[in-house]
Amino acid sequence: MALFEAKNLSKRFGDRVVLEDISLKFEQGQLSGIMGPNGAGKSTCFNVLTGHFPPDRGTVLLEGEDITGLSPRKIAQKGVARSFQIMSLFDEFTALENVLFALPEVRNVGFNMFRDVAGDTATVDKALKIVEQVGLAASADVRSSSLPYGQRRALEIAVALAAQPRVLFLDEPTQGMGADGRGRLLELILGLKRQFTIVMIEHDMDFLFSLADEVSVIHWGQVIAQGTPDELRADPWVSRANLGTKRNA
């Protein structure tokens, strides 16, 4: 059984069908990629899988348990974490605080009005380890709004990691980054591969193909191809949909 599975998902906004009968499977310990051109429904697919909106039809299963239509909070508490394509940090918190706040240990005492956040050294240490894991140790005390772009991207991933997720969804992690930053990000995600089950949306084909075990290509709200990077490189449909040799200039 796959760790995370989506069966026959459909979603429409008004009269626009965004997802049509999509089925996906993500295996434990694998890095799966989702790719497709702009407006293909990748982000909507992510939003449905992580509970941002419920699907109109279809089911989402986490280890066989039906989690369709649960709130983002419940899905997060079950161990599904995500990063955002558009940067979504707690801007006035320091890098360390961003991660600390996302730790389940802190979340679970969320209504405790007297415990001191700073008082629990073990928890703070744990947050610090995650900050180090994404290479931000030197900037741990910097407000996240003052971090340079690449570091904010890394912090975005660190916040998702803090939940010790069973499945980690990364929404276009390379968005807006230069070649240099991509290189570092590639190393960071390679370091996380095998430790976590990762699902990644990515625009950058080279980036995705050098990381993913398996890739699903979405176009017009449907899965048009699925396979390992090598298989997909050979698939004429894939190159047509993504590189726009004929229709999409």
């Binding site: 992580t50 995500r82 801007d91 918190f93 969320g110 001191d116 290479g135 741990a140 340079p148």
Partner: protein
């Protein structure tokens, strides 16, 4: 003196460094208040004014949980202030003349009213939150005006005498303004310690996280609705307690403090004081508001015009309020002190180390 003390790696490396229960600004504020009766008259103020200032400090601190910490612009807070005053009065007239019991009653009923409103507004934010709170506040105001048999209508509840407070063998009459002042300061001191703990607790962090990014807080697994509902309720408790204190000091409870106009005062006071950037902003704001009302009000009937102009100037030139100006000044001073040493170069280029 920021909105909260940021947590840094020092906490991890230097062992658990808990946020103190009592801090220097806290002692300074309370010290100033305790000495107030001794110098009030020599600077042209009077004892009763101190009572109102302290009541407004408490009201403003409670309100800032919403505006400053959670970023919820509530414009109907006066309702819970007024409800607290009525609850105090009704409890005093019908149940118990013990000020502590009646005050607890004021806090509970204020919190209950806010909890009801919270159910309606907790899933909103921004302008919709503001409009919903105005509407709810107006409902309470209208009810208090119309239900003559309970609230006394437009005249309000009268005959709420300042009872005496019995603390074991000690019997304190609150009739005297100075004694009442110290009683109100004592209530404020307890509340300040509570609030200081609250904003540094995980719950306080959650409030601020919701202000910065509600969606992310939800995706990290926080119950945003419940957190917002809880803080609306808690802030109503503080408004209720301060309303109860107002009923003691004025020996009456009346609907005026509940209308939308009066609810706006607390927003202006907190913003001028700097509630958006400092825990102490509301305290400063309450002093400025009450003293301005008194001093300007003695000079001209149109004091609100001048206070309104002051508010506009603050919003235009110093949007972070008086506390914000103080923070900028301190930062500048700090830079000047370090001027001898060359500035540290920022190590971060674009796309710096990931």
């Amino acid at each position: 003196m920021a909105l909260y003390t940021p947590l840094t790696t020092r906490h991890a490396t230097a062992g658990a460094r808990k946020q103190a229960w009592v801090t220097k600004p806290m002692l300074l504020t309370l010290g100033l208040l305790v000495s107030f009766p001794f110098w009030a008259e020599s600077v042209g103020l009077y004892q009763y004014l101190g009572i109102e200032v302290v009541i407004w400090m408490l009201y403003a601190l409670g309100y800032n949980l919403l505006l400053g910490y959670t970023g919820l612009p509530a414009f109907g807070q006066g309702a819970f202030f007024g409800i607290g005053a009525y609850a105090y009065g009704l409890c005093y007239l019908n149940l118990s003349q013990n000020p502590l019991v009646a005050l607890a009653c004021a806090g509970l009923v204020g919190g209950f009213g806010a909890a009801l409103v919270g159910c309606l507004v907790a899933h909103r934010r921004g302008i919709y939150f503001a409009l919903m709170t105005i509407a709810c506040g107006q409902v309470f105001w209208f009810v208090s005006m119309k239900s003559h048999s309970v609230t006394g209508g437009e005249d309000g509840l009268l005959n709420i005498r300042r009872a005496s407070l019995s603390l074991g063998p000690l019997e304190l009459s609150l009739k005297d303004n100075v004694t009442l002042f110290y009683f109100v300061v004592a209530v404020l001191a307890v509340c300040i310690v509570f609030l200081w703990r609250l904003v540094h607790s995980p719950f306080g962090k959650a409030l601020q996280a919701i202000r910065m990014n509600e969606t992310r807080a939800r995706f990290v697994g926080y119950n945003v609705w419940l957190t917002k509902w809880a803080i609306v309720t808690l802030s109503g408790v503080f408004a209720g307690i301060s309303g109860g204190l107002l009923a003691i000091s004025q020996e009456s409870a009346y609907p005026d403090v509940m209308n939308v106009h009066s609810s706006g005062f607390i927003v202006m006071a907190v913003l001028i004081g700097g509630g958006m950037v400092s825990f102490w902003g509301p305290v400063i704001g309450a002093v400025v508001f009450i003293v301005a009302r008194d001093l300007l009000g003695a000079l001209t009937e149109t004091w609100l015009l001048w206070y309104g102009l002051l508010f506009m100037c603050v919003v235009l030139f110093q949007p972070e309020g008086i506390a914000g100006a103080w923070q900028h000044y301190r930062a500048k001073l700090g830079r000047r002190m370090r001027a001898g040493t060359p500035p540290k170069l920022a190590p971060e280029a674009e796309n710096g180390p990931v």
